[in-house]
């Protein structure tokens, strides 16, 4: 597998899609800092914890775009055949693709943190959360990205047409974000709505009424679980600071990564390549 990684990284360093991803994420980091600076001029206080989570919505697209264009080329231009004919095993080909995707996405996310870490401390009023919690959230964000890398690698090893792959992965991410957005919306519903009514005497009467859309008991647990479990749901939870179960989310991401890799290798071993 060492040879495959060597070949893969040598291709990565000259891949426009990788450098485009790095540039986009660095720009995102710069924009977040610019926004924090702008806010500080208007008296809005930002914390480093906030700046460290604003990348999540963009991050979910990184594995999809990277796998669609970079790994998709392997099939489209037949390079994957060269690896197998050269005697490389299918699990090795799969693992090397996964490691490459993980490394590429990690580096792209790293590009976001370059401006955030260098400029952010001067624009924020401290971390905003405890260092332990910040580390857990940052780790969770990376694991969320890793889970998406696992899923996108699975897709790219099983779908041999580059265009179909790219469209499928992007639609899947968009669909996942839509589901995540719906779940977040339902979970963010207030338990009570304040109803203001005018009495006959002309006075305003404010009272709290139960919100029928508020999720309760078992239903809320299910919605929360799905939002915690889905990588796109996690991305929204991190992004909008709605994380309730950070440790469980990390565990779910690891489970998704392990399951997608295990299942992907099994399916790839049986796949008839053309």
């Amino acid at each position: 597998m060492h040879d495959l990684l060597r070949a893969g990284f040598s291709r990565l360093w000259r891949a426009p899609v990788f450098w485009l991803g790095v540039a986009v994420m660095a720009c995102c980091g710069g924009l977040v800092c610019l926004n924090a600076y702008d806010g500080s001029q208007r008296g809005i206080i930002y914390f480093m914890g906030d700046l460290c989570r604003y990348h999540c919505i963009v991050t979910v697209f990184l594995p999809a775009v990277f796998c669609g264009l970079f790994l998709g080329t392997e099939y489209e231009q037949g390079a994957i055949r060269n690896k197998l004919i050269a005697g490389k095993s299918r699990p090795a080909v799969y693992f090397s693709s996964l490691i490459l995707t993980l490394a590429a996405c990690l580096l792209m996310i790293g590009a976001y943190f370059v401006p955030v870490v260098t400029v952010g401390p001067f624009l924020t009023a401290g971390l905003g959360i405890g260092p332990g919690m910040l580390a857990l959230v940052l780790g969770g964000e990376l694991l969320m990205a890793a889970a998406l890398c696992g899923l996108c690698t699975l897709g790219s090893m099983l779908i041999s047409r580059k265009a179909v792959l790219a469209v499928t992965l992007l639609l899947a991410v968009l669909g996942g974000l839509a589901v995540g957005g719906y779940l977040e919306g339902r979970l963010a519903e207030p338990e009570f709505n304040q109803v203001i009514m005018m009495t006959e005497a002309g006075e305003l009467d404010a009272s709290d009424r139960e919100n029928p859309s508020y999720l309760r008991d078992r239903e809320r647990e299910v919605y929360q679980f799905v939002a915690d479990f889905l990588p796109t749901g996690q991305a929204l939870l991190y992004n909008f600071d709605m994380v309730v179960h950070p440790a469980a989310m990390c565990l779910y991401s690891l489970l998704i990564l392990a399951a997608s890799t295990g299942g992907g290798i099994l399916a790839f071993r049986r796949k008839d390549l053309k």
Partner: protein, 304 residues
């Protein structure tokens, strides 16, 4: 005879369709083995199987003495290079970068030999030009160069001249012949362009409907396709005596017919046969081409 590749009752089924149907073939070391068959006969499926891109449904193949089910079959596969259907190259890289990439995949310690490889396939002057801008023939030659990285002793080429112009066809043919003669590389080449194959192959496998119809050497094929006169007589034994007396090269087919591989004086032959109480019933001139031989083997109706 030592074989690089042997397949035994190899079968590949896609749902209800049998692409390969118990195919048995033997590729001798040092041969240029022409796999002949019409479109859909199973040539590419066979190549995909032996390259490890697909698993057989049934049967087996042996590559350099290792069965395909052996754990170390990858070691045999490292001794082969292949171009399956389209050349496997990165279009956004130059010819040299493509070869460097394949050297890395193979784990070769240095890039020595790339210049020679480019020269061998006639791409030494392409410089930084990206493969995307290559002609079809150049892409095909680059694909072969990539397949040759790592010095394989067995080269598998699937329809290598498909879509090439006459000049490109000649270049590929000369390259294959050079690889076989100078580097002793065994070549398995599939094609349905029979005329082209006949200029290259030392052995042939005629495949139809997923199974081997006939496997023979170029010499045997040449004999089968040789220009001859087919004689039908009342007594083949008498004919043999007469032909021996005339010093003619011939082959007795049955008790009444024989093929004679040289021009005959018909009057002289008739008189000689009459002296042996044998009548000459029919004379046919036969000149079977590879194409007509193929059609006679697999039946007409569809194109090769």
């Amino acid at each position: 005879m030592e074989y690089v590749l042997q397949t035994v009752k190899l079968t590949k089924r896609y749902r209800q369709f049998n692409a390969l149907n118990g195919l048995t073939m033997n590729v001798p070391r040092g041969a240029i083995y022409g796999l002949v068959g019409r479109n859909g006969a199973g040539k590419t499926t066979l190549i995909r199987l032996i390259c490890g891109l697909q698993e057989p449904t049934d049967g087996m193949y042996v590559l350099y003495g290792r069965k395909h089910t052996d754990r170390d079959i990858d070691r045999s596969r490292r001794r082969m290079g292949a171009v399956v259907e389209t050349p496997s190259i990165y279009l956004d890289m130059s010819a040299e970068d493509n070869l460097r990439q394949q050297y890395r995949v193979l784990g070769l310690p240095s890039f020595e030999g790339i210049a020679e490889l480019l020269e061998l396939v006639g791409l030494e002057d392409t410089g930084k030009k990206k493969a995307r801008h290559f002609s079809l023939g150049m892409k095909q030659r680059l694909g072969i160069a990539v397949a040759l990285a790592g010095d394989p002793d067995f080269l598998v080429l699937d329809e290598p001249v498909n879509g090439l112009d006459p000049q490109g066809i000649i270049e590929i043919r000369e390259l294959i012949l050079r690889l076989n003669r100078e580097k002793q590389i065994t070549v398995l080449i599939s094609s349905h362009i029979l005329d082209e194959l006949s200029r290259l192959a030392t052995h042939y496998g005629f495949i139809d409907g997923g199974h081997m119809v006939k496997e023979l050497s170029a010499k045997e094929l040449e004999a089968a396709c040789r220009k001859c006169v087919r004689l039908t007589v009342t007594d083949a034994g008498a004919l043999a005596r007469v032909l021996d007396a005339l010093g003619a090269e011939y082959k007795i087919l049955d008790s009444e017919t024989a093929d004679v591989y040289q021009k005959l004086n018909v009057s002289q032959l008739t008189l000689a046969l009459a002296a042996q109480n044998c009548e000459l019933l029919d004379i046919q001139e036969r000149d079977e081409s590879l194409e007509s031989y193929f059609v006679s083997l697999v039946g007409g109706g569809r194109h090769a």
